[in-house]
């Protein structure tokens, strides 16, 4: 009897000790991550206050003069800002409209291939552009489109047509951005749909076949409904990035001749902030953009989640 009592107190004592000693190593594990996040995330967040100041490099962030909303008023009155805002949204919308269906079509067609080997080869090749950097991709693009030595111009010159400097022409710039953007990402974006198609019950296809459904009708009535949710979720999430656009692609491909149609918020703030060192103004623009961005991402995430819940996964 006393033996049991003794034993249970030992356990009690032990579990108490365990609890105390358990917490300490946890903080040890968290420490490096927490420090890095404080320094490289929270301190820059605090640095946003220079959007409300007139940043003076000699005085530093703290002692620079407060100017209220002057920086915000300035860029809201600036037509350059509205130009890059318009370009950002327009290029984004075109990218979504053109870029959304292509991975879906690619995934469906890939799934319909009879040869497993061809399927594998095509898929592997479709990933290739995803793995190369934008510097490499932009290098390939400028070289293929080069007016003097590029393959396309070499080709059209043979028909006696004058070479075209594609990247310096306003009417070609956006199509180039959109097509090359799709080129770089369609393979990896198709991964979602390939997974969704693989999850469709094959009995549905068998049943459709017995009912005499043609291939096209099978795709329409079985495949498309099977990937509908995935498509909606991805579309909604893409809309969430409406005011943010990849910096690298445009920065590497644009030039002053196409600023009117190709300059976007990220490239504009880079020039304004880093090249012209207008820190306060740039931070004000960045702050405004990140608020709009947050609202968009947050709402679209919520919508995407509710869509995902409605359907069976």
């Amino acid at each position: 009897m006393s033996n049991i009592k003794e034993h249970s107190t030992v356990i009690k004592h032990r579990s108490h000790l365990l609890k105390k000693s358990r917490d300490l190593p946890i903080y040890g594990l968290l420490l490096p991550g927490v420090l890095l996040v404080i320094i490289f995330h929270y301190i820059p967040l605090f640095g946003i206050i220079i959007a409300f100041k007139d940043y003076n490099p000699f005085a530093g962030i703290i002692r620079s003069e407060w100017v209220g909303l002057k920086n915000f008023e300035f860029f809201l009155m600036d037509e350059n800002f509205w130009r890059v805002m318009r370009n950002t949204i327009e290029i984004n919308i075109m990218q979504i409209v053109m870029g959304f269906p292509i991975p879906i079509i690619f995934a469906i067609l890939l799934n319909e291939l009879w040869s497993a080997r061809l399927k594998k080869i095509t898929q592997t090749i479709s990933y290739l552009p995803y793995f190369i950097s934008w510097v490499v991709a932009a290098g390939i693009i400028t070289s293929v489109l080069s007016p003097s030595t590029g393959a396309i111009n070499v080709f059209i010159k043979r028909f006696g047509i004058a070479p075209i400097h594609f990247l310096a022409k306003e009417n070609y710039f956006r199509p180039i951005i959109i097509v090359t953007g799709i080129w770089k990402s369609f393979g990896m974006n198709a991964v979602y749909y390939i997974a969704a198609i693989a999850a469709i019950d094959t009995q549905l296809y068998e049943a459709a076949k017995i009912d005499g459904a043609s291939k096209i009708r099978q795709i329409w009535h079985v495949t498309l409904p099977g990937i509908k949710t995935m498509a909606i979720v991805l579309l909604v999430l893409q809309v969430g990035t409406l005011v943010s656009i990849g910096f690298e692609q445009i920065f590497l491909l644009y030039n002053p001749l196409v600023y009117e149609v190709g300059d976007v918020i990220s490239t504009y703030t880079y020039r304004l902030g880093i090249e012209q060192a207008r820190y306060s103004l740039t931070t004000a623009i960045g702050f405004t953009q990140s608020i709009v961005n947050f609202i968009l991402v947050y709402t679209t995430n919520r919508i995407a989640k509710s869509f995902a819940k409605w359907s069976l996964w």
Binding site: P25, I26, L29, G33, I50, I125, V135, S143, Y192
Partner: protein
Amino acid sequence: MKRATGEKLFQVFNIFLMIIIMASVLLPIMHIISVSVSDSRAITTLGVGLLPVGFKPDAYISIIGETIFMRSFINTIIITVISTILSLAIIIMVAYALSKKYFLGKSFFVYFFVITMYFSGGLIPSYLLVSKYLKLNNTYLAYILPILVNVFYIIVVKSQVEAIPTDLIEAAYIDGAGEYKILFRIVIPVIKPTAAAIGMFTILNCWNMWFPVLLYTDRREMWTMQYYLRAVVFEKFLANNAENAPAVVGADVIPPQNYQMACIILVSLPVVSIYPFVQKYFVKGILAGSVKG
């Protein structure tokens, strides 16, 4: 199995489309390779399309023999190795800690990390911090430190650790194992595939890094491969910057066009030759992210 004529036609049409898609990826690359090995005069006079004119690998030989190129290559490897190891270590440590059911301040720490996914200070505050306040210009730290914590990956790993049966971990406690022992003996073996996928993404990101170089350095010894390529292709540093141009340039021996294309091939070669073997990690990583995100 007999297939209807309609289906056969569809299949032929489908294969034809797939060939076009493959061509859209492979033809530009063929063009680059052809130019890179073509005879210099052919490039400017005849124009090189898809097939090389002549065969001269001179550009490759001179690039590989160049000090800035080798330096950029070594820098890229150093940055990639250090960032990937440290980043994985931090992601796993934080994810494991946050997966604990109870400890003082748990929900505070979860929010502390998650908030950073939605709000960031933006380009200028980070730039001022790294360059003006921490004075990390011209050091590897400026490239590495800001990218070490990836909250998205932390959440992916955390939810995987949470899926480990609690009995398993409790049993280890009773046997007297400490947190670190549990982390290495139980948790890490379970999350190994995910960690491998995250490691691959980190390696790819580091390998393709160039923007921090643009922001934080004015020394060639600190260039990465991508930045070197950018300088060669976009800043025309070979053509316009005669005094900095590599000794081998000698203008009529190797034309810049040759050189630029050879550079593109060399910089992308490691990734392009490895990715077919590791693509499954990326596919898995992307799908895991879609489930959690």
